[in-house]
């Protein structure tokens, strides 16, 4: 039913603001008395990875869920590809902090679940799922159940599920916070590859400063009370440097330090 609109959008020649895959305008959200977000505006450039970074309780997950269409803002508007968000849509896929895998389904069915819900035929969706299972490095585990996998492998399943629906925007809610440090580093490297090779926009919630600086094209620092975007940092130069050397690059260290300087007063 919404399909004609997509065609329209394609026909319009280069809209000036079309560089942004996602735009948040004046988003406010309260939970009862608690004000989670106040008049927050932010732009997410297409094909890049934007991190939402901030101390806990600053509303970064709330913002991500509003972009996903899982929560309704009290006021303000989200636009994805120029169209206002009214609920979850095929243009966005979510990667969950706690993986949100179905324990009764094997890896193949979990990865194909997004396509299953869209009514894609079994053989077709399994072929797609197998491709992404291999891509995230889980080939051979198609028939395993989530409880037989390690935390890192479970999150790879969650990632494969989000990739397999081929959404423009990937929303990641602290995806690596539940995996161990070594797995996490590997994930961060893989994520950089993914951003480079998949033509997708990534929105990445994290509370790790190092992680944000390591993977992001743009870092939005959110501060609480009231929640707002306090600063946007673009570590542009870092993105052209060799991945292996980023962690000892002086610029990387400077950015990490300056972010910590602005955050430290908000951490009790």
């Amino acid at each position: 039913m919404v399909m004609p609109q997509i065609k329209e959008a394609v026909n319009v020649p280069d809209m000036p603001q079309s560089d942004n895959a996602v735009v948040a305008r004046g988003i406010s959200k309260t939970y009862g008395e608690v004000e989670a977000l106040r008049d927050l505006s932010l732009e997410f450039p297409r094909g890049q990875l934007t991190s939402l970074l901030g101390p806990s309780g600053c509303g970064k997950t709330t913002l991500l869920k509003i972009i996903a269409g899982l929560l309704k803002p009290n006021s303000g508007e989200i636009e994805v590809n120029g169209k206002p968000v009214k609920g979850p849509g095929p243009d966005r896929a979510f990667v969950f902090q706690d993986f949100a895998l179905m324990p009764w389904a094997n890896v193949l069915r979990n990865v194909a679940f997004g396509l299953e819900l869209r009514g894609v035929a079994t053989s077709e969706r399994e072929a797609i799922a197998e491709k992404y299972i291999a891509e995230v490095g889980l080939a051979g585990f198609e028939k395993s159940y989530p409880h037989q996998l390690s935390g890192g492998m479970r999150q790879r399943v969650g990632l494969a599920r989000a990739l397999s629906v081929d959404a423009d925007v990937l929303l990641m809610d602290e995806p690596f916070s539940a995996v161990d440090e070594q797995t996490r580093r590997k994930f961060q490297e893989d994520l950089l590859n993914l951003v480079q090779h998949e033509n997708k926009t990534f929105i990445f919630v994290t509370h790790s400063i190092e992680e944000a600086v390591y993977v992001s094209d743009q870092i939005a620092i959110l501060l609480p009370r009231p929640s707002r975007v306090s600063e946007i940092i673009r570590p542009t130069d870092l993105r052209h440097k060799n991945v292996d050397n980023i962690r000892r690059d002086p610029e990387y260290l400077d950015i990490v330090d300056s972010i910590w300087a602005s955050l430290r007063s908000y951490v009790e």
């Binding site: 979510f94 179905m102 324990p103 009764w104």
Partner: protein, 253 residues
């Protein structure tokens, strides 16, 4: 793994039956037959058809009652679990039902529904349904929020979330409710036959006791327990078949 657990089961049965045999030989009581005497009575009754006719009679209220309890119980449980209002409306009924001293209520049921099949089905349902309803409701209420969120974010409709996320996620607890409910249903069926009218297996138990044929009485009791265990095993198989990944191993594997 399977072989070892099979051996353990055989050993466990042997220990139990051995203890029974020894207790019967001492004897603990004149009214307590040995294991082999009881088994002999069991085979005698199975051979002359007494057991078969008795079970045709007993299984009717049992199957009808357990069937109603399972379908209605799971249905009501889902409803209660999904809606706070129906929780307030129905939960107290089942909590009262579960706590009610059933034996004392049977005369009331007989007055209302007579001594026929209806009363017996009611007894089975009162025994079986509350635990099925309450387990299902709490399982549905405790579906992980992130799984439901996952469904919504991947564009599932409410029906799909219900059928493909909430029910499978609740299935381990629903099945444990079913197992408890079915065992209670077996107790209810025999209770009904002892308290309302002596028919079927209840008749064998009452009659054998009145003529002091204790091996036959214990054989009848043994056979109903055996049937219940077999049925519970079937339920576990069904659960493994339906929701393999949910199952992390059972004592009966």
């Amino acid at each position: 793994m399977t072989r070892r657990s099979l051996w353990l089961k055989i050993i466990s049965a042997a220990v139990l039956f051995g203890a029974w045999q020894i207790a019967g030989m001492i004897p603990v009581s004149y009214a307590f037959p040995t294991f082999f005497e009881s088994m002999a009575a069991l085979f005698r009754m199975a051979a002359d058809g007494t057991l078969l006719t008795a079970y045709v009679e007993t299984l009717r209220p049992l199957v009808v009652g357990v069937g109603i309890s399972a379908f209605l119980g799971i249905g009501l449980g889902l409803w209660i679990g999904l809606s706070a209002r129906f929780d307030w409306l129905f939960s107290p009924i089942f909590i009262v039902m579960q706590a009610a001293p059933l034996a004392a209520l049977i005369p009331l049921l007989v007055m209302a529904y007579g001594i026929g099949l209806t009363s017996k089905v009611f007894v089975v349902c009162i025994m079986a349904m509350p635990v099925i309803v309450l387990n299902t409701a709490s399982a549905v209420r405790n579906t992980p929020a992130s799984l439901k969120e996952m469904g919504r974010s991947f564009l599932a409709s409410d029906t799909m979330i219900m059928l493909r996320i909430i029910i499978p996620a609740a299935s381990p607890v629903i099945f444990s409710g079913l197992r408890l409910g079915v065992s209670a249903g077996f107790i209810g069926a025999i209770l009904a036959e002892l308290k309302i009218t002596p028919t079927g297996v209840g008749d064998i138990i009452t009659y054998s006791r009145s003529i002091a044929d204790y091996p036959a009485m214990y054989a009848a009791i043994f056979s109903i327990i055996l049937l219940a265990v077999l049925f519970l095993n079937f339920l576990e198989r069904l659960e493994v078949y339906l929701f393999e990944g949910n199952v992390r191993g059972y004592a009966s594997d």
